[in-house]
Amino acid sequence: MANLRPLLRRSEFDLAHDSLRDLNLYLHKQAAQDGVSQIEVKNPDGAHSIACGLDADLDVQIHGHVGYYVAGMNKHASVTVHGNAGPGAAENMMSGRVHIRGFASTAAGASAHGGLLIIDGDASLRCGISLKGADIVVGGSVGSFSAFMAQAGRIVICGDAEDALGDSLYEAVIYVRGKVRSLGADARFEPMTDADRTALKALLAQSGLAHDPAEFRRVASAKSLYHWHADADQEY
């Protein structure tokens, strides 16, 4: 008689014993073949490049702190880190969702093209640097030079920002709730529109945050650097 219960669609890796390479190979190839969609990872202990380069509809739960480049280049998958992340979390993400329950080190979401990166705690310097279309929601504060040269996408900062927020911004938009120590070159505060409030409300809801969109300010590019000014002061 056929087993009527669904097959076990969950798998577990313990990086105290299993190799990182085996884990990532499994996530890249075997998981989809086995019909496994939920993968638990124990004892990450700061290892680099965990769950990098995923390209499938997986739910990866990592229990502990991770090192560099967790969920880098992520496509389709949902990766949750129940801990802190090292530099470059979700860098170059294409789609999907990455959730850091603790704090994230420098360059979180760097160059990410799509998807949603949620950081419950603080993000360090250069969060969302060169952002290319992804959304980043930071529950805490961000360090200096965040959103530097961000080209597209949205960054929501529920806490404060350090120096040079949005320096040399292109078309990305920043929503910041707390204090901004300084704006970067060409970044400026702009009035919130109804479209901003609607978009922000949706991002906050997706991130499980209950803040009132009315508490946020919009930062975007003044676009004064878009064109070369021969007469401008060229001293740096």
């Binding site: 004892n43 202990d45 702190h65 090192g67 802190n84 090292g86 080190s105 420098t106 360090s124 360090g143």
Partner: protein, 298 residues
């Protein structure tokens, strides 16, 4: 790229385990610094009349007891030496400056790695795990330590270029990063009679801070001055006989994580060097903010 590690035990019962707790930290930073490694450990100080000198002979075979008798012939003070291969610790009541001059003249194959009353210093080229074995780092005891694994980017791979750097008494510094104005710093310090042993950028920072300490600054004030004097990328970890201090430059390109419990403060370039520490899951973890000075006293 380099790796840094620091450990200060608040609970005196852990002083016997200082080395054992540290070795996995240092070895954990091998990928960041595979070419050389070093360590300064602060032990129970010798008596006020004495100083300790960490000595290193590299590939030269040195008969340490013969060396001790030559020292005894020239200095009418009490001396003792504890040797381990090409490394030895000399405890002496003689003036350490005179001893250093004596070594330069009479035993040039022996490098004086550190001088002080608490500090013991080890550094060598090779993989961190091999160096840890070579000098039995596991058995080291003390209150705090400063360690480094090096991947050379701006000067040669030699024991002298390995970190920690020392200057003066009981002061050491390790560095992850690179300075862009070490020659300017050096040009400023050399006319003051400050001598350099290498062309390494970190040595400039080490001698700058030690000069400020001798000029009466406390360590935090000296580091504060460094913000305008030292240009480049750095995470610096420093030790004195009383203190462990970490600071990152304004851009914080070089990583650092601090884990603090009731028993210890542990610092490393990355969490993976802290993951094995006891009770780490209950430690307070944070990354030092740029240009903020964090220090802990024993």
């Amino acid at each position: 790229m380099c790796g840094i590690v620091g450990l200060l035990v608040k609970n005196p019962a852990l002083r016997n385990q200082l080395g054992a707790l540290m070795v996995p930290m240092l070895v954990g930073m091998t990928e960041r610094g595979p070419d050389s490694a070093g360590l300064a450990v602060y032990t129970t100080p010798v008596s006020e009349r004495h100083h300790k000198l960490s000595l290193y002979s590299g590939e030269n075979a040195v008969d340490w007891s013969e060396l001790l008798s030559r020292i005894a012939a020239d200095f009418a003070h009490s001396h003792e030496i504890t040797a381990q291969g090409n490394h030895a610790v000399l405890i002496s009541a003689a003036d350490p400056d005179l001893l250093m001059a004596w070594f330069a003249r009479n035993a040039p194959m022996v490098a004086v790695l550190s001088v002080g009353q608490s500090i013991d210093l080890y550094k060598d080229v090779g993989a961190p795990a091999d160096i840890a074995d070579r000098y039995a780092f596991k058995s080291l005891r003390g209150s705090h330590l400063v360690g480094h694994t090096r991947m050379a980017t701006e000067s040669a791979v030699t024991p002298a270029h390995a970190h920690p750097f020392t200057a003066g008494r009981d002061f050491c510094l390790v560095h992850n990063g690179s300075l862009s104005n070490p020659h300017l710093v050096r040009k400023r310090l050399e006319p003051l009679g400050i001598e350099f042993e290498t062309d390494n950028d970190t040595e400039a920072a080490c001698r700058f801070f030690e000069w400020r300490l001798r000029e009466g600054d406390d360590l935090k004030t000296a580091v504060q001055r460094g913000f305008s004097e030292l240009d480049g990328f750095y995470t610096f970890l420093m030790g004195t006989d009383q203190e462990l201090l970490i600071v990152r430059d304004a851009f914080a390109c070089k990583p650092a994580v601090v884990a603090e419990t009731d028993d210890y403060v542990a610092i490393a370039s990355e969490f993976r060097s802290l993951a094995h520490l006891p009770n780490i899951s209950h430690a307070t973890l944070f990354e030092p903010k740029p240009e903020e000075i964090y220090s802990w006293r024993i």
